[in-house]
């Protein structure tokens, strides 16, 4: 398949739609209603007024349409007469119907009695005995042609007529050789282990609870799916028992799934038939057999004798117009409803609409409004701006913050990725996260759908593993929810699905320590920038040691990660090198620096309102400070100390450079800091600056044992 046609097929929008394909012969439809010349025009009419329909190729002179019948129209439109009725209403033309009621019979009772075990599973069973049939007779060429056109293989007259009626009226019926029906013809759930050879020649062993038709309690037919071979019409059959029934659609659907068997009949039963279909189907088969072979009805039995009660829908035409936003005169509405087969009584103020029995979907006035709207043409509905209060809306904080972070990260050279809400199994195990409780799926399709993610890192690492093979350096991140296994199930959902922002800087190959260190500071710098941009002040990074409860996590490389805190207590995330054990296990050759932030927590922290600081009106003096520092002393401690010791003249302390190397004394680092001196009141004299700077140096020397470098 080429790329473009794939594009067309993609999950089209939000809602689940289960396709109900119906193949239609144009020639067949023309039996009932006068149609436009071309199939394309008929397809367009159906698409715009009923359901999506396309033209199938018109090879062999037989023009075919392929309709995707909507789920609420399967009761009436999985049939040629149903679609003809649609077209009649759309075109405003008369539809000529076959007779769909059984003639009053002076029929005798048949030699068998009907026995339905559970009327909920089989609300109606109708059986008619016909004599004067010839089992070896062929159906006429026009019927064979039509059956072939819709994809059915012609067999003999009796079978062909039942198939023809299935496609014409939408009701499956089944004919048995009368000789194979004993004293009772029954419907009951199967018992485990019962066997039946179906018409496709397959010997099937039935589980419990598949509906079957029985003769003297022996299964002869899988209800709604397929008949059995033994009781089928044979060449020498002269009398048949024709059955037509209504089965519970869920029961048929389940049986179809269990037996892995789908037929034209099960497609219709599993989508719902009506009691009216039962009689219509029988009536039509009988009429055709009478006409084509001179068969006559000799007996009849039916589990339903009362006429079905008809539903009446009360509809105010004015409300129909208001719902559509289009004024449709009551007379027009009435005409449309009548053309669809409804009986309409009542006044122009309120209609009492009796839908035809096949239309199970028409139950409330909104349903009626839909009929009026679509038959009239939905394109007639105008575009009208609603009247609404003018109100300012702003996106919620998490949307604004997410956008701000995305933009900031993009500017810093980081690329956004997205990953599944499931947690990739291999990476989850590698990180030791399997020791954390996860929410688990009942029906995963593969091992990477077993659990919902509790961290974004496994999936990012999974993608990095493949990505690093393609490009040497990756900087990417994801902002998304995680799904910790919550104690409180019904509280605030936002607390149950916290938002996180996590990223990886992946460098492929042999990465020297100095490069890894640079990557760490680059990543940490990005995190610092993100936190500052959110207006968080008092951000600190402390060396991260996993708490004893979390020591099973193998994520971080010892001594190369930091925990970010805002204020004294709020831990908001971690930045650090991913441990080499993890990288080895998941097969990444190189170095990975990660950050992992709790965005939900960041969102609730107090943010500083940015205010203006007047620039110093007098020049400032900059002094660089190059010092040798014992490696137990942290740089941010030094910077704080300078700020303190040099007050009030120190305006700013910046980090410039950092060096660890062979030609430095044992356990010493070289650090360069830049101190800015100034005063808001006057220009500082050199002597003053020197004095302050000396004081700072002395303080550092005394307190931390640092030495100045030349």
């Amino acid at each position: 398949m080429n790329q473009e046609s794939r594009l067309h097929r993609v999950a089209r929008h939000s809602y689940t739609l289960h396709p109900n394909p119906m193949r239609l012969s144009l020639d067949w439809l023309r039996d009932y209603v006068k149609l436009p010349e071309t199939g394309a025009e008929v397809a367009r009419l159906l698409t715009e007024h009923s359901f999506e329909t396309t033209v199938l190729s018109a090879e062999g002179g037989e023009e075919l349409l392929d309709a995707d019948v909507l789920p609420n129209r399967v009761s009436d439109c999985l049939s040629h007469v149903g679609v003809a009725r649609e077209l009649g209403a759309i075109l405003g033309r008369k539809v000529s119907w076959p007779v769909l009621t059984l003639p009053k019979l002076r029929a005798n009772k048949p030699s068998f009695t009907l026995r339905v075990a559970n009327a909920t599973l089989c609300p109606r069973l109708l059986a008619v005995q016909l004599e004067g049939v010839r089992g070896d007779a062929e159906s006429p060429p026009w019927m064979r042609r039509r059956l072939q056109a819709v994809g059915v293989r012609p067999q003999n007259l009796v079978v062909d007529v039942t198939n023809y009626v299935l496609w014409e009226i939408g009701q499956p019926t089944h004919a048995f050789d009368a000789r194979s029906i004993g004293r009772t013809l029954g419907v009951r759930p199967s018992r485990q282990g019962e066997r039946i050879r179906t018409l496709d020649g397959v010997e099937r062993t039935l589980p419990d609870d598949v509906l079957v038709l029985t003769s003297d309690d022996k299964p002869i037919d899988v209800a709604g799916l397929m008949g059995g071979q033994e009781a089928s019409v044979r060449d020498d059959s002269s009398a048949i028992v024709l059955t037509s029934a209504l089965f519970d659609r869920v029961a048929v659907r389940k049986a179809s799934q269990v037996l892995r068997l789908r037929t034209d009949a099960s497609d219709r039963y599993s989508k719902g038939r009506t009691a009216a279909h039962v009689e219509a189907g029988t009536a039509r088969v009988v009429a055709l057999l009478q006409k084509l072979s001179g068969a006559r009805v000799t007996a009849r039995a039916d589990t339903v004798t009362r006429k079905a009660e008809q539903r009446v829908v009360r509809v105010r035409p004015r409300e129909v117009s208001m719902l559509l936003g289009l004024s449709v005169p009551p007379a027009t509405q009435k005409k449309i409803l009548v053309s669809l087969g409804c009986r309409v009584a009542g006044s122009a103020r309120e209609f009492r609409v009796t839908p035809p029995l096949f239309r199970t979907d028409l139950g409330i006035s909104q349903d009626i409004a839909e009929e009026v709207g679509r038959v009239l043409g939905l394109e007639k509905i105008p575009a009208v701006a609603p009247r609404a209060l003018l109100q300012a809306v702003a996106p919620p904080d998490e949307v604004l913050t997410t956008r701000a972070l995305q933009d900031r990260l993009r500017a810093a050279g980081w690329t956004e990725t997205l990953s599944y809400s499931f947690s990739f199994e291999e990476e989850t195990l590698a990180l030791g996260l399997d020791r954390v409780e996860h929410q688990k799926l009942v029906n995963p399709l593969n091992r990477d759908q077993i659990r919902l993610r509790v961290s974004l890192l496994p999936n990012l690492l999974h993608q990095a593993c493949a990505g690093a093979k393609r490009v040497p350096v990756l900087r990417w991140y994801e902002i998304g929810r995680v799904y910790p296994s919550a104690v409180e199930k019904f509280g605030n959902w936002k607390a149950r699905e916290p938002l996180r922002a996590s990223g990886l800087l992946v460098r492929r190959g042999e990465v020297p320590d100095t490069q890894r260190q640079r990557d760490f500071y680059d990543t940490k710098g990005v995190v610092e920038d993100l936190l500052t941009s959110l207006g968080l002040s008092d951000v600190r990074f402390d060396a991260f040691e996993p708490s004893p409860q979390k020591s099973f996590l193998y994520v971080w490389r010892t001594g190369q990660c930091a925990e970010a805190r805002v204020g004294e207590r709020d831990e908001v995330g971690v930045v650090g090198a991913v441990s080499s054990e993890v990288l080895e296990r998941i097969g990444i050759r190189g170095s990975v620096i990660a950050f992992d932030l709790d965005l939900s927590k960041l969102l609730v922290l107090e943010r500083e309102v940015r205010t203006y600081v007047p620039p110093l009106p007098y020049p400032t003096v900059i002094r660089d400070l190059s010092i040798l520092v014992p490696d137990t002393v942290l740089v941010d401690t030094l910077m704080e100390a300078i700020d303190h010791a040099g007050a009030p003249l120190v305006q700013d302390v910046d980090f410039v450079d950092f060096y660890e190397g062979d030609h430095l004394p044992e356990s010493r680092r070289s650090v360069t800091l830049r101190v800015t001196y100034g005063s808001p009141k006057r220009t500082l004299r050199d002597a003053e600056v020197n004095e302050a700077h000396d004081k700072v140096c002395a303080h550092l020397e005394e307190k931390f044992g640092v030495e100045a470098r030349e």
Partner: protein, 339 residues
């Protein structure tokens, strides 16, 4: 003297030789300029003679003469610059500029932002709900009955504790309605999940957006009004809308919303995007089913609403002509860095 091409060729040889000799000093160069390129120099004089020629000869010799003048002027400038001690080094302007190393936003983020912004501008609030959802919000309140096929294991991811991964953003719509009284207009963009094997057109995870507008006198015409104004902004294309009948359990009437094909070709007869129909499906929509309103304690006699939903992934696929939906979730660096 009549100007000929030979004469011009001779003049060129003479001038180049003179320039070579003059290249030693600035004074000599100036003398060269006056003799050849100055107002009364030999080149301008020769060019003046061109005017007297026949049309054909004028065309030919005119261009040769002009080329010669430009050549000498440039050679003179180079010689002068060299003497002045500053060689005018040329930039190779075709070398790619050094770009800042910025990253990229995910295509679904880009489209999602467009969707959000378009509806924000219409006064829709942006909301979301949980992705791990209760069946009642995902199904029951939305008029999706127990035996509906969508509730099968085959369509929905279920969790061991009886929750599910929401199959549509409509679940959040139900939540919002439970907690509010009309009027309201909301937009819910978010992740949804389908229990499907993945292929080029099916994913277990994708993004949807769901809109809901409930007020006293809302009609299908208002739905069209809102979409007509918003959709062109989202698809970045002037489009015409088409409603077609459709069916979803939580709306009645239900419609499918098509827009005119987004592929910018003159004839759509063979267009692969719309398959020759001229239309592409964008949304499912309809008037909120009265049963749904009742379920969430909104009086359907007083209020009506419209709802619509679409797939952000699909919009992104249409916009960027992406043929494989799995790319969105692949983390493929060659894919992500294109946006």
């Amino acid at each position: 003297m009549i100007l000929t091409s030979d004469a011009l060729a001779r003049l060129r040889g003479e001038a180049r030789a003179a320039l070579d000799r003059a290249a030693a000093s600035l004074e000599a160069l100036e003398a060269f300029r006056a003799a050849y390129l100055g107002r009364k120099g030999k080149i301008p004089l020769a060019l003046r003679e061109v005017k007297a020629l026949s049309t054909d000869a004028k065309r030919e010799l005119g261009s040769v003469g002009n080329a010669l003048r430009l050549e000498l002027e440039e050679a003179y400038a180079v010689a002068q610059a060299r003497l002045a001690g500053r060689t005018p080094r040329r930039f190779d302007v075709s070398v790619p500029g050094r770009r800042p190393s910025v990253g990229h936003l995910h295509p679904l983020t880009l489209v999602r932002r467009d969707v959000e912004d378009a509806f924000l501008a219409m006064g829709f609030e942006i909301l979301d709900g949980p992705e791990v959802e209760e069946p009642r919000f995902n199904f029951d309140l939305l008029n999706i009955p127990l035996e509906h096929p969508a509730r099968d294991l085959a369509d929905t991811f279920w969790l061991t504790d009886g929750h599910l991964l929401r199959t549509h953003t409509s679940a959040a719509q139900a939540r919002v309605m439970v907690n509010r009284q009309p009027p309201f207009r909301i937009l819910v963009p978010g992740r949804v999940f389908r229990h499907e094997a993945t292929d080029a057109t099916h994913e277990s995870t994708f993004f949807q957006f769901e809109g809901l507008y409930v007020d006293a006198d809302v009609s299908l015409a208002n739905l069209r009004g809102v979409l007509q104004s918003v959709l062109p902004r989202i698809v970045k294309h002037a489009v015409v809308l088409r409603f077609r009948p459709s069916y979803f359990p939580f709306v009645e009437p239900g419609v499918e919303v098509d827009v005119t094909c987004l592929n910018r070709v003159k004839s759509h007869a063979r267009c692969p995007v719309c398959k020759g129909t001229g239309w592409v499906e964008i949304l499912g929509a309809g008037m909120v089913h009265p049963t749904v309103l009742k379920n969430v304690a909104i009086d359907p006699a007083k209020y009506r609403g419209f709802a619509f939903g679409g797939s952000i992934d699909r919009l992104a696929m249409l916009r960027y002509r992406i043929a494989d939906i799995r790319l969105f979730w692949s983390g493929d660096p060659h894919f992500l860095t294109q946006f």
